[in-house]
Symmetry: C3
Subunit: 202 residues, 3 copies
């Protein structure tokens, strides 16, 4: 129940950020909902395709389409208000990040991948949607730019796989992993932590 | 027979529009044929990967490569003439749109997806190639911009899945779905119907 | 042993070129390693997904991640030096191209694809990583532009499938295919051979 609620909140936040990118590109209502959906589910879909779990989970429930339609409609008709709510949306987004990286890593472990690869697939689950939305608006992915975003997701996913290796039950380590990723992201935002950009070393 | 002919015509039209995008980007002959192929088959390939039907149908017949080579060569050597033939090419493209959305939805239903998801995959089958070609030329996908294009494909795919739900035989509902999508597209072009763009509401 | 060495060299060269693209886009260290990884393994991953060999080989060994980390770190901290070493890097890249196109075509034949399709998948294995890295930096793929690159890979892959058709053992035809592709690429670079661009004919 809590998990489902968090999943919906995280998906909704991801869908909002995808929709806002579409609005910035002045797409039509279809484009906006399409990008909301892409941002919300692409990471999970790519993960499922890579581990052979097809059709992907995101295509087996109507829930995610419903979330994308609501988020996309909000973006299309009320983008100004969403921009003013940027801060809470970013917090929800961080929650989604934490949840998705842990779920993704768990699924990849279950599919037999190594802890290292499961950590990477957990990270990809969390950041894949944002990358896809950026590609579809023809700009270099934000998450590869300066933000401590993929790093936070990798941390959460790695904690889960480490816990799994030493035998900590999922009920303990999964929440810890999600909290780690979400906190890292929130702290990085609060203190404006950034990674250095390439080119500053030459 | 009719179906195969329509499939070839639709594929050819999609391949022409992909090739023309490559020409606009001044790609080499390989790039032009590559984009022709991508525009013609990506939608179906993504659909097949998502429903687990691999290797995808488009990679199991040489027909589509042949079509892409012919269309790509035409684009490379006679782009000026193709631009003058924009109108008939757009009509063939609309025929391809109608056919692909119906075929895609049918395949998705057969793979056990829900009617809603099958409609979306039908739409994706029809518009995926154009999106892929746009991504490969680093521009935001046209079909997400203003055109009534994805909407027409969604309408055709939805009609098929609705017919399937209430038990109308495919021989009846599939042609109707294709005709609906193609007509919607042609009427929208004729009367210059557009969806509003995001940003006009603020 | 030789094969593994060549595979590592080719992967490393591909990873370097992906990392350098990230540096040009001033990405953060994560972005640089991410693009190194993408450039090194995307071609093979797409091939494996298309033939249903999931999880893809590149996700079943930590080797490729390690190579991407080393190559990415080099690009991030010493991009100036890598630019000065452009010539040897390009030679290694050509070796990777030859190796990857042959391995890709072999895998596709084993998966039951026709010689024509196996040649194309061989080419895609070799050029897919570069295309993915270009898409992630929002520019039209270099390999579709003017360079004799995809053509060289196609030649090597086609030689392998032809040899397979007439019964030449892999131990003979695979090295020949790889050498053909690598040589074609190197000769094209040396003599500055290019394909014409579209648009020059109008």
């Amino acid at each position: 129940m809590l998990l489902t609620t968090l999943d919906i909140i995280g998906t909704f936040a991801f869908a909002l950020s995808g929709g806002m990118r579409a609005v910035e590109n002045r797409m039509d209502p279809f484009g906006v909902v399409f990008l909301s959906f892409v941002a919300a589910v692409s990471g999970g879909i790519v993960r499922d395709v890579l581990i052979g779990a097809v059709p992907p989970a995101a295509l087996q429930s109507s829930l995610y389409v419903g979330i994308a339609v609501v988020a996309g409609a909000l973006c299309f008709f009320a983008s100004g208000r969403i921009i003013r709510l940027a801060r809470p949306v970013a917090v929800f987004d961080a929650i989604g990040l934490g949840l998705f990286c842990v779920v993704g890593a768990r699924k990849a472990l279950d599919a037999g991948l190594s802890p290292l690869m499961a950590s990477l697939l957990g990270m990809l689950t969390a950041v894949g949607g944002g990358i896809a939305a950026d590609v579809l608006t023809a700009r270099p992915p934000m998450v590869l730019q300066r933000e401590i975003y993929a790093l936070a997701a990798l941390g959460g996913a790695a904690l889960l796989t480490l816990g799994d290796m030493v035998g900590v039950p999922d009920a303990v380590i999964a929440p810890l992993g999600a909290i780690l990723a979400t906190s890292l992201r929130l702290v990085a935002m609060s203190y404006d932590w950034h990674l250095p950009r390439a080119g500053a070393n030459e």
